[in-house]
Amino acid sequence: MPSSLPTSLRLKAENLSCERGGRLVFKDLSFELAAGELAALRGPNGAGKSSLLRLLAGLNTSISGRLNLEGGEADTTLAEQSHYIGHSEANKPALTVRENLVFWQKFLGGGENLKSLSAFNLEALADDQALLLSAGQKRRLALTRLAVAHRPVWLLDEPTVGLDAASLVILQNHIRDHLKNGGMVIAATHAELGLKSAVNIQLGKAA
C-alpha cells in the first residue's frame, strides 16, 4: 500500500530551538532528511531527544526556527503525516489488544478490517486485556500502531525499550521496509538499532 508514496519527500529543519519549562533545551539545530533515510537521534539523558521528537510531532509549540516537509500530501501538516511512538504507550488497560488496535486504526484513518495484529506477533494475545500484558508486550502493542495506518514519517522515542531479541529483529525489518518504500524514520535510541543511519543528529550535553 505505501508504493504510491512520492519519493521526493524531504524533511528540512533549520535553526530549530526548543524551550521547555523556561529552559532552553537546544538551539540552532539544523538537519535534512530525504525519503528512505533513517535519522539516529543521540545524546545523553536530558539533552532534548524526546523534546525534539515532540516538537516534530507538533506537540510542543514553543518553537522557533523553520520546519518543513516537502513533497508530502498537500494541505496536511507534518504531524498529520507522522506516527509518534513515545514513552507513554497510549494503550487502554481495560480494553483487549484487538479493541485497542481497532480503535487506533479507525481513528488514524486505516479502515475497518484489522490486518496488523501479526505485525508484532500479537495474534495469540488478541483477546487478552492489555492490562495482562508484560512491559515488552505492551511495547509491541504500541509499535503495532505503526502498521494500522500509513504515515510517511515515523518518530520513534526509544522504540527498543523492553523488546526481546526476536521483537527487535521484527522492528528492524519494519523500519527497513518502511525506508525501502520511501518513508523516513527518526529514532531516538541509546542502544544500537542495528541499522545504518543516513543522518546522525547529536544533541548537546545534559544540563
Binding site: R54, L59, A90, N91, K92
Partner: protein, 222 residues
Amino acid sequence: MLQQALALITRDIVLARKQGGGLGTAFGFILSVMVLIPLATGPDQILLSKLAPGMMWLALLLSVLLTADRMFQQDFEDGSLDIMAMGKLPFEIVTLAKTIAHWITVSLPLAIITPPLGLLMSLDISQLPILIVSMITGSLALSLLAAIGGAVTAGLRRGGLLVSLLVLPLYVPVLIFGVAASTASLGPSSSTPALIVLCAITLMSLIISPWACAAALKAYLR
C-alpha cells in the same frame, strides 16, 4: 471525520462500561441525598414537596461535578491525547466527542434516574414529565461545562477542588433556569420560557466548551 469521532465515542462508552466510569459513584451520591434530606428536614410533606425540584437539581449538578476531574486525565496520562492531537480530526472535535461520551455514560442516565427518585421527597407526580425534560436538556450543558474543568485540571493529581471552584460559577445559570423550568406552578406552559433559556445555555456551552477544552489540553501537551 464523523467515523473517527464515532470511533472515539464508542471507545469511551466501552471503557466506561468495562472500568465502571463515574456513573456508580454519581448515582450513589444522588441516592444518598434523596434519602437523607427527608430525614434532615423532618416529615413535613408540604415543605418537602416544595424543596424537591431544587434539591434534585442540586444533587444532579454536584454528582456530575464529582466525575469531571477524570474526564481527560487517563487519556492525558497514558499518551492517548498526544496521538489524538496529531491526527487529522480537529482537536476541538476530539474533546467534543469525549464530552458526548461522558454525557451518554454519566449525565444522561442520571437525568433520567433522578426525577423518579424525587418521589422519596413527596414530589407531585404531575411534575415528573417537565422535570425529566428539563433535566435531559440541562444535562448536556452540565457535561459540556464539566469538561472545561476536567480539561483545565487534566494534568493535576488532585484536581477535584479546582474543578469545583472553576465549574460551580458556570453551573449557576443552569441551576437557576433548570429549577425555574421544573417548579412552574401555573401548568406546563408557564415553564416554557425557562426551558427555552435552558436550551440556549446548552447551545452556548456546545460552542464554547470544545474550544476551551482543546485550548486547555493543548497547553498540557508539550
